[in-house]
C-alpha cells in the first residue's frame, strides 16, 4: 500500500498554506534576535582559545573601565556554581556539567568553551570589551578522538569520573570492573545467543567505520534576551525548540522556582535538536540581574559551530553473519561515540537502531560514551543513528555482494516484520518496514537503468522511533465560527498548520476556521520540546482531545437550546450537531448563539500519549564520481518512507527532503576540522560545507502511508528518520561507481582521492 485510494479525511492530507506564512514571506515574523526592548544591553561571550586549559585568573577590570560596559560575569556569578563544585565524583554530576558547560569553572574543556560574558550599551562596545578581559590559562594536553581517549596513557579529562555500566545515559549502574579512561558509561544490549548465531553463519564479515563531527547547521544563530525584574521575575525571549525545557534548565542553573521564570518562544530559525540545551540564556539572565536592564545575546556563526552542541564523531565496528541464502544469523557491534567535554552521547540510540530494520535472532551492541576535548554534543536529528546505520548498511551491502544477492533483495529477505524483536527486546507491532522496501522495489528510480561511466547506485535503510511525552492544548470557540487554538509547541516547520488541520478534522470545520497561536510558558500547560518527531503526533493528540471536548460541550449546549434529551444530540463528522426532530445546527450557527446561551466554550487537553509509531525509510541514490578529482556529485535521489498518515503531505515531503540533504552533507562534505591542539579550523559556513542548491538534485519522495494504530489520525513522527539512510546509501553508490568502499565519512574529495590515486603519482 503506497497511499490509500481514498482518504477518509476532509482536511488531513490536504496542502493548505500555513497560518504563519504571510508573516514569514514579508519579513514580519519575529524571531528571537528580532526583539528590541527599551534600555536593552547587548551581551557577548569570551571563549577559550584552548581545547584544554586550567583557568588560573580572570580579570575583567579593564573591560569594566570601558565606557558603555555595564557588567562582566564568570562562572562564580551562577548561584548553582557553589553546590555544583561540591558535586564531584562518580555519581550523577548533571548540575555541575550543565553549569560548567554554560560557563567554564576551573578548566576550559574545549576550544570555544565560554569563560566570561559582558553586557554593554552597544554591540560594538560589547565586542571591544571582550578583548579587554584578561584570562590567564595553563594549557593542558587535549584528548581529541575516542581512540586517544580510551588509551591507558590518555589524560583523564574528568579525573574523578569512572566508567559505569549503564542502562542508559546518566543512569549509573555498577561501576565497571574495567575502568576505561574517559569512558563515562558502557551500555550493552543483547538478545538471543550471539555465539550460537555466529556458529550458525556460513559467511561472517567484520568491518570498521568512522564518521566526523557534524553540526545541525540551522541558519539562525542561537539568541536569547533576558529581563530579570525588581521582583525577581525572569522573562526570557528566545528561539528554542523547548520553552519548558529551557525553563527547567534556567531554574536549575539560577536556582529559581519555575514560577519565577517565563520563557517566551519567538519564531525559530531551525533547530534539528540543537536548540534545546541552555547556552547563553543563563548568562543573559545573570547579566540582566546585575545591570537591572534587559540583555540581548546573539551568537556569531563561529560561536554556533564551536560553542554549541554538534553531533558525535564516531567509531563503529560491526560483525555480521549470514547463511549462504542471505539469512542473517547474528550481528554484533562495538560503538564508541564522542560525547564532547561532558557525558551524554547518543551512542545507545545508535546501537539500538542499527539492526532494527532486520530480523536478526542473535544481536549484541556494546556502546561506549567517550569524553573528549570538544564541544558537548547535542541532539541532532535521529541522534546517533546515521553513523551506526552507515556501518550496518555498508556491511550488509558487502555481504550481499559476497553472496551474489541484490542489495535490496538482501534486505527484503531479512526484513523485520510485526513480532520481530529489536535488540532492546521490544517486539515490533504494525510497522511499515516491508511496505517501504516493497515501495522501493517498485519505485521508478530503482527500476530505471543507471547509464554512464563512473556512476553508481546505492540503497540503504534507516530506522527511528518517535517520541510521546507531554503536550497541552486548548481551543476557544469564537462567535464568528472560528476557533483560537493555543499550543505550547514551537512551530519549526509547519506545525501550526499540521495542528490546526487536526483540530479542523476533529471539529468537521474548515482549516481556515482554526487560528493557531504559540504561547509562552505562563500561558499553557507543560509541553515537551518540538523535537523527537513528536509534535504532530503528541500535540496533535492534545489538539484532537481538545476538539472532542468542544464537541461534547457543544452537544450540551445544543441540547439546552433545543430543550432536548442530551442523549439524542450528536456532533457529527461534518461539523453539524444533530438532535431529535431533525433539528440541526452547524458549527458556525451554534457559535453565534454561544454568548446568549451561557457563554463561550473551550476545549482543553493535557496528554502524555503512548502508542508512538516506529518509522522506516529506504533511500536510493545515484552518484557520479570524477575519477580524476574524486568529487562526488549526487545525480538522483529518492527517499521512500513510512509516514503514517501524512497530515500535511507537503511538509512531510519537506521533512524528508531536508533530512536527506543533511545526510548528504554528512556523507560528503560536512565535518569539523581540528588542528593538533584541538582548535577548530573551519568555524565558518565557508569551510564547514553544508550542501548548496548546486550540490543536490531534486529529492524525489515516496510516502508510504501505513497509519499508526496508536494515534487518532494514524500519525507517525516523520522528521528524523530521513537523515539515517543517506550515509550508507551514498557510500554504497560510491563503491559501485569506483570500486572503493568509503569507510570514513565524509567521503570528501581529499580522502577519497587517496584511494583513487595511482600509487606512483607525485
Amino acid at each position: 500500500m503506497v497511499a490509500p485510494a481514498k482518504s477518509p479525511y476532509r482536511v488531513v492530507g490536504t496542502r493548505p498554506v500555513r497560518p504563519d506564512g504571510t508573516d514569514k514571506v514579508t519579513g514580519r515574523a519575529n524571531y528571537g534576535s528580532d526583539i528590541r526592548l527599551p534600555g536593552m544591553l547587548f551581551g557577548r561571550v569570551l571563549r577559550s582559545p584552548h581545547a584544554h586549559a586550567r583557568i588560573l585568573r580572570i580579570d575583567p577590570s579593564k573591560a569594566l573601565a570601558l565606557p558603555g560596559v555595564k557588567a562582566v560575569i564568570t562562572h562564580t556569578d551562577f548561584p548553582a556554581a557553589e553546590d555544583a563544585v561540591a558535586d564531584l565524583g562518580e555519581t550523577s554530576s548533571n548540575l555541575k556539567w550543565l553549569v560548567d558547560n554554560v560557563l567554564a569553572s576551573d578548566r576550559a574543556l574545549y576550544h570555544g568553551h565560554a569563560v566570561a560574558a559582558v553586557a554593554a550599551t552597544d554591540p560594538h562596545v560589547a565586542e571591544d570589551a571582550l578583548a579587554l578581559i584578561e584570562v590567564e590559562y595553563e594549557p593542558l594536553p587535549p584528548v581529541l578522538s575516542v581512540h586517544e581517549a580510551m588509551n591507558e596513557a590518555a589524560p583523564r579529562i574528568h579525573p574523578n569520573m569512572h566508567t559505569v555500566e549503564m542502562m542508559a545515559r546518566f543512569t549509573p549502574g555498577p561501576r565497571s570492573e574495567h575502568d576505561i579512561p574517559n569512558v563515562a558509561s558502557h551500555l550493552r544490549m543483547e538478545i538471543g545467543d550471539l555465539d550460537a548465531g555466529f556458529a550458525d553463519a556460513e559467511v561472517v564479515i567484520e568491518r570498521e567505520y568512522e564518521t566526523g563531527t557534524s553540526h545541525q547547521g540551522y541558519i539562525e544563530p542561537h539568541n536569547g534576551t533576558a529581563l530579570w525584574n525588581e521582583h525577581g521575575e525572569l522573562t526570557v525571549w528566545l528561539s528554542t525548540q523547548g520553552p519548558f525545557a529551557m525553563r527547567d534548565s534556567l531554574a536549575r542553573v539560577l536556582k529559581l522556582p519555575v514560577s519565577k521564570i517565563r520563557v517566551v518562544p519567538m519564531e525559530i530559525g531551525g533547530g534539528f535538536g540543537g536548540k534545546i540545551s541552555a547556552y547563553m540564556e543563563p548568562m543573559a539572565a545573570v547579566l540582566s540581574k546585575k545591570t537591572g536592564r534587559p540583555v540581548k545575546m546573539i551568537m556569531q556563526r563561529d560561536e554556533v559551530l564551536f560553542g554549541t552542541g554538534p553531533t558525535s564523531a564516531t567509531y563503529v565496528r560491526v560483525k555480521v553473519g549470514a547463511k549462504r541464502d542471505g539469512t542473517l544469523t547474528a550481528a554484533e557491534a562495538y560503538l564508541a561515540y564522542e560525547s564532547g567535554a561532558y557525558p551524554g552521547s547518543p551512542v545507545g540510540a545508535g546501537g539500538m537502531c542499527m539492526f532494527a530494520p532486520y530480523r536478526v535472532p542473535n544481536q549484541r551492541a556494546d556502546c561506549y560514551d567517550v569524553i573528549v576535548n570538544k564541544p558537548k554534543v547535542s541532539a541532532y536529528r535521529a541522534p546517533g543513528a546515521p553513523a551506526a546505520a552507515f556501518a550496518m548498511e555498508s556491511t550488509l551491502d558487502e555481504l550481499a555482494e559476497q553472496l551474489d544477492i541484490d542489495p535490496l533483495e538482501m534486505r527484503v529477505r531479512n526484513a523485520a516484520v510485526d513480532g520481530t524483536r529489536r535488540i532492546d527486546g521490544v517486539a515490533f507491532e504494525s510497522i511499515g518496514n516491508e511496505a517501504v522496501m516493497t515501495a522501493a522495489k517498485e519505485s521508478p528510480h530503482w527500476n530505471s537503468e543507471l547509464q554512464g561511466e563512473n556512476r553508481g547506485r546505492g540503497i540503504a535503510m534507516g530506522f527511528w522511533t518517535n517520541g510521546g511525552q507531554e503536550s497541552s492544548a486548548y481551543a476557544t470557540v469564537n462567535s464568528d465560527g472560528t476557533v483560537n487554538l493555543v499550543i505550547g509547541s514551537v512551530d519549526i516547520g509547519g506545525q501550526r498548520a499540521a495542528l490546526a488541520m487536526q483540530l479542523a478534522e476533529t471539529l468537521g470545520i474548515d482549516y481556515e476556521q482554526v487560528k493557531p497561536l504559540v504561547v509562552d510558558t505562563d500561558s499553557i500547560g507543560y509541553t515537551f520540546i518540538t523535537g523527537g518527531s513528536r509534535t504532530t503526533f503528541a500535540t496533535g493528540w492534545a489538539v484532537h482531545e481538545a476538539g472532542l471536548e468542544i464537541q461534547r460541550l457543544l452537544e450540551d449546549r445544543a441540547a439546552l437550546i433545543w430543550e432536548a434529551d442530551r442523549e439524542l444530540v450528536h456532533y457529527d463528522d461534518d461539523g453539524v450537531i444533530r438532535g431529535p426532530d431533525e433539528r440541526s445546527l452547524s458549527f458556525t450557527e451554534i457559535a453565534k448563539q454561544l454568548h446568549r446561551t451561557g457563554g463561550t466554550v473551550q476545549g482543553k487537553a493535557d496528554v502524555t500519549p503512548e502508542g508512538v509509531g516506529p518509522t522506516f525509510a529506504c533511500h536510493i541514490v545515484d552518484v557520479e564520481v570524477d575519477p580524476e578529482t574524486a568529487k562526488v556529485q549526487v545525480l538522483r535521489y529518492t527517499a521512500i518512507q513510512d509516514v503514517g498518515t501524512a497530515v500535511h503531505p507537503a511538509y512531510v515531503e519537506g521533512q524528508i527532503q531536508g533530512g536527506a540533504v543533511q545526510g548528504v552533507g554528512m556523507a560528503l562534505s560536512e565535518e569539523y576540522v581540528y588542528d593538533s591542539e584541538g582548535r577548530m579550523r573551519n568555524a565558518s559556513l565557508l569551510d564547514y560545507r553544508m550542501p548548496t542548491t548546486l550540490d543536490v538534485p531534486a529529492i524525489e519522495t515516496i510516502l508510504v502511508e501505513e497509519p499508526n494504530p496508536g494515534h487518532p489520525y494514524g500519525v507517525r513522527g516523520v522528521g528524523e528518520v530521513p537523515i539515517v539512510p543517506p550515509l550508507g546509501a551514498i557510500a554504497s553508490a560510491i563503491y559501485q561507481a569506483t570500486g572503493v568502499r568509503p569507510r570514513t565519512l565524509p567521503a570528501s574529495p581529499r580522502v577519497l582521492l587517496e584511494e583513487l590515486l595511482p600509487d606512483d603519482e607525485g
Binding site: L187, Q241, A379, G468, G611
Partner: protein
C-alpha cells in the same frame, strides 16, 4: 503474569536470566515484585520513587512518560530501555 526482559548488563543480578515472570498490575508493582528475583535492580531503575532520567519502560513495546503508575495488562511484556528519542531531556546534560 508479566514478562520482564532484563537488560544485558543487569542479568547478573537475575542469575543470568534474560527474562523473569512476575505478577503486578502497575509498573511499580511489577518492579517491586521483581526485586526478590533480581536484588538491586529496582534501585537501578527507580530513583526517588520515579523512573530514572535516561530510562524508559515499555509495556508491550510502547513507551510512555506516565511513569510507574502505568497499568500492566495480564501477560504483558515489560522492557527496560535506554531513553533515545531525539532531543529527549537526557540528551542534554
Amino acid at each position: 503474569m508479566a514478562t520482564v526482559f532484563i537488560p544485558a548488563l543487569m542479568r547478573d543480578l537475575c542469575g543470568g536470566r534474560h527474562s523473569v515472570e512476575v505478577e503486578g498490575a502497575t509498573l511499580r508493582q511489577v518492579l517491586s515484585n521483581l526485586e526478590p528475583e533480581c536484588p538491586g535492580l529496582y534501585a537501578l531503575v527507580v530513583e526517588d520513587g520515579m523512573v530514572r532520567l535516561g530510562i524508559q519502560l515499555a509495556v508491550n513495546g510502547v513507551t510512555s512518560s506516565s511513569g510507574l503508575l502505568r497499568a500492566v495488562p495480564e501477560d504483558a511484556e515489560v522492557q527496560i530501555l535506554p531513553a533515545m528519542s531525539g532531543g529527549q531531556r537526557s540528551a542534554a546534560p
